[in-house]
């Protein structure tokens, strides 16, 4: 149930925007389509809404085939990145639009429309804006109205295309919480597109990681973050240091390196010490940045000259003692995850079990 895609493909000319995607989104789920730009996530969303025609495959919404239905018939709530509020209508009319355009027989009475609109305005906490025009509202307010407008038609699924992409960081943070709350209240199957991994990790029940029109991994945020299926997912979710060639020496165990391996380690997984411990790597500090509760340290390996980044909490940093540019520290890279990088879709060749144990 919910949204179910079977072997969906969409081509623009010779470019395959969506490549044979099969996907099931359960009813009531809050799903993020996450991927870099050009990964086909927006196209997939537009296919589900019916704004693009599919070339092959089927789309089922709550069990019924929607592939051949028009946008109007699908009744999905769609929220655009740049709101797409009708400029010449006031807020009330914007929200009422979906109800007013219904065929006469299904159209609610004037009174019912007014009640419904006011109820939605209350839901998005913007009752006082009913008679204003979109140009008089801030970006965050506009996006909330856009959501209210989409909800007015009582859609079975809600599709959001980079809903917070055009907003500043603080408003974005507020709206994320707010949208989760709304979802909890209404429990509508929701699918939203984002290129911001933080947003996806923070909001979604399920993350669908996409790249080159294909699905790379599907799973709950912790799972996708802790157990990335392949190198792409690993490097796309969160900050990473990439290690290749000589830098991997000593981490491959019994595997014989062939030059295709690529290793990743997240900055916070790098341990820094003042003294040499086991297989630590000596490195020179080139920069120290304090960002809120974390400290980022840029380092340069003394043996290979590679630059990498480590991150730690302020407490850990205090334990380490003040670090200055030019200090020599020893970096523990044992938490490295190595993929056979020939194609980006292979399983990790070596997993660090201790790391997993620590998180799961």
């Amino acid at each position: 149930m919910g949204i179910s895609l079977k072997e969906v493909t969409k081509e623009f000319g010779t470019f395959r925007a969506v490549d044979n995607i099969t996907l099931d989104i359960p009813t009531g789920d809050f799903t993020a389509l996450l991927g870099p730009s050009g990964s086909g996530k927006t196209t997939l969303l537009r296919l589900i809404a019916g704004l693009e025609k599919i070339d092959a495959g089927t789309i089922l919404l709550n069990g019924s085939d929607f592939s051949a239905k028009t946008v109007r018939e699908r009744k999905v709530g769609f929220v655009f990145q740049h709101y797409a509020l009708f400029k010449h209508m006031n807020i009330f009319d914007n929200i009422a639009f979906g109800l007013k355009v219904r065929p006469r027989k299904q159209r609610p009475s004037k009174k019912e429309i007014t009640e419904k609109v006011m109820e939605l305005l209350k839901l998005v906490q913007l009752e006082h804006t009913a008679s204003r025009y979109p140009s008089q509202l801030s970006g965050g307010q506009r996006q909330r109205i856009a959501l209210a407008r989409a909800l007015a038609i009582e859609p079975e699924v809600l599709l959001l295309d980079e809903p917070f992409g055009a907003l500043d960081a603080k408003v974005r943070q507020e709206l994320r919480h707010w949208l989760r709350e709304i979802h909890q209240k209404l429990n509508i199957t929701t699918l939203f597109v984002t290129h911001d991994q933080e947003e996806a990790l923070e909001m979604a029940d399920t993350i669908v990681v996409m790249n080159h029109g294909r699905v790379e991994q599907i799973g709950p945020p912790e799972e996708v973050y802790q157990n990335p299926a392949n190198a792409f997912v690993y490097s796309f979710l969160g900050r990473v240091n990439e290690l290749r060639g000589a830098a991997l020496r000593g981490y491959l165990g019994n595997t014989i390196p062939n030059g295709d391996e690529v290793g990743y380690i997240r900055p916070h997984e790098i341990g820094l010490n003042r003294t040499l411990k086991g297989s630590s790597v000596p490195a020179e500090v080139s920069h120290v940045t304090k960002v809120g509760s974390t400290v980022r340290i840029d380092l340069k390996r003394l043996d290979l000259g590679h630059i990498f980044e480590a991150e730690m909490s302020t407490e850990k940093y205090r334990e380490l003692g003040p670090v200055q540019k030019g200090d020599i520290l020893y970096a523990d890279l044992n938490h490295i995850v190595i993929f056979n990088g020939k194609n980006n879709t292979t399983q990790p060749v070596l997993e660090n079990k201790t790391l997993r144990a620590a998180y799961l």
Partner: protein
């Protein structure tokens, strides 16, 4: 005092550009118009009043106003349609069609007038079929309207075209996801967006038609009380060396035009302010 009214911009040169604008407007428009008023004021008030309320002049005012209005209205409808076709569809010869739209600007209006008269005269290519049905086109107000439609066509097309081009398909898509059908999308979303541009085009076409002389004099037949337009009456007065009378008629015409254009502009300014294009 003035300084307070000026909103400062990052680019310098306000003084220079404003000064140039004032001088330019004065030399080209304001001073000639002032002279017109000056000339009209050489008449005594009774003379002035007699000239402009003359039966023949009043009939001419009416004719000019209503033929111009209807011509502009026809252009509003069909000009919008042409702009629509040129923007939304791709077809062979689109660029050519696009260029043809501007021809009425480039052609000497007298030539257009003669050509239209030839075609729409009772024995002309098109006129003869209408004549067979008992409809006379040339030498009637209908003919005047055709000439005025011809010269006003580019205004509406060129006003509406860029707005249609910039129209974001997301609004249509948003309306479609909310359940609107194509008619509703057109009338509730697209039409309100292009309406101000349509009105601009209408106002320009209307203004142009009010002052048109060259193309109309050939097709109208210039019968007093029936098909005499104001510019023709002015020329007639001038030919009789009645400069004061000509100026009086012109001044009244000018006031009419100014009031109408001003009203359209105020209305437009109000809608624009309300929507404040994002």
């Amino acid at each position: 005092m003035l300084k307070k009214l000026i909103r400062h911009r990052a680019l310098p040169g306000f003084g220079l550009s404003m000064g140039y604008t004032v001088v330019y407007l004065s030399l080209i428009i304001l001073i000639p118009l002032a002279v017109l008023f000056l000339k009209a004021s050489t008449l005594s008030f009774t003379e002035f009043w007699r000239t402009v309320t003359d039966e023949r002049v009043v009939a001419s005012y009416k004719l000019t106003l209503w033929t111009s209005f209807f011509a502009a209205f026809i252009n509003l409808v069909f000009g919008t349609l042409i702009a629509w076709v040129l923007v939304l569809y791709d077809f062979w010869g689109k660029r050519l069609a696009d260029a043809i739209v501007d021809l009425p600007f480039a052609l000497p209006t007298a030539i257009a007038g003669i050509a239209l008269t030839t075609i729409y005269a009772p024995n002309g290519w098109i006129g003869k079929y209408f004549a067979a049905m008992g409809i006379k086109i040339a030498y009637t107000p209908l003919g005047i309207m055709i000439a005025l439609t011809f010269i006003g066509l580019p205004f509406v097309v060129r006003s509406v075209q860029p707005v249609l081009q910039d129209l974001d398909t997301r609004y249509e898509e948003a309306a479609a996801t909310l359940g609107a059908n194509s008619m509703q999308i057109f009338f509730k979303i697209i039409f309100p967006a292009i309406f101000p541009a349509m009105m601009t085009g209408f106002a320009l076409a209307f203004a142009r038609a009010l002052g048109e002389y060259g193309s109309v004099v050939f097709i109208s037949g210039n019968m007093p009380m029936k098909t005499e337009i104001i510019p023709l009456l002015i020329i007639t007065k001038l030919e009789q060396f009645n400069y004061g009378g000509a100026a009086a008629i012109a001044v009244v015409m000018l006031l009419f035009s100014f009031i109408l254009l001003f009203l359209i502009n105020v209305w437009q300014w109000k809608t624009a302010k309300k929507q404040q294009m994002i």
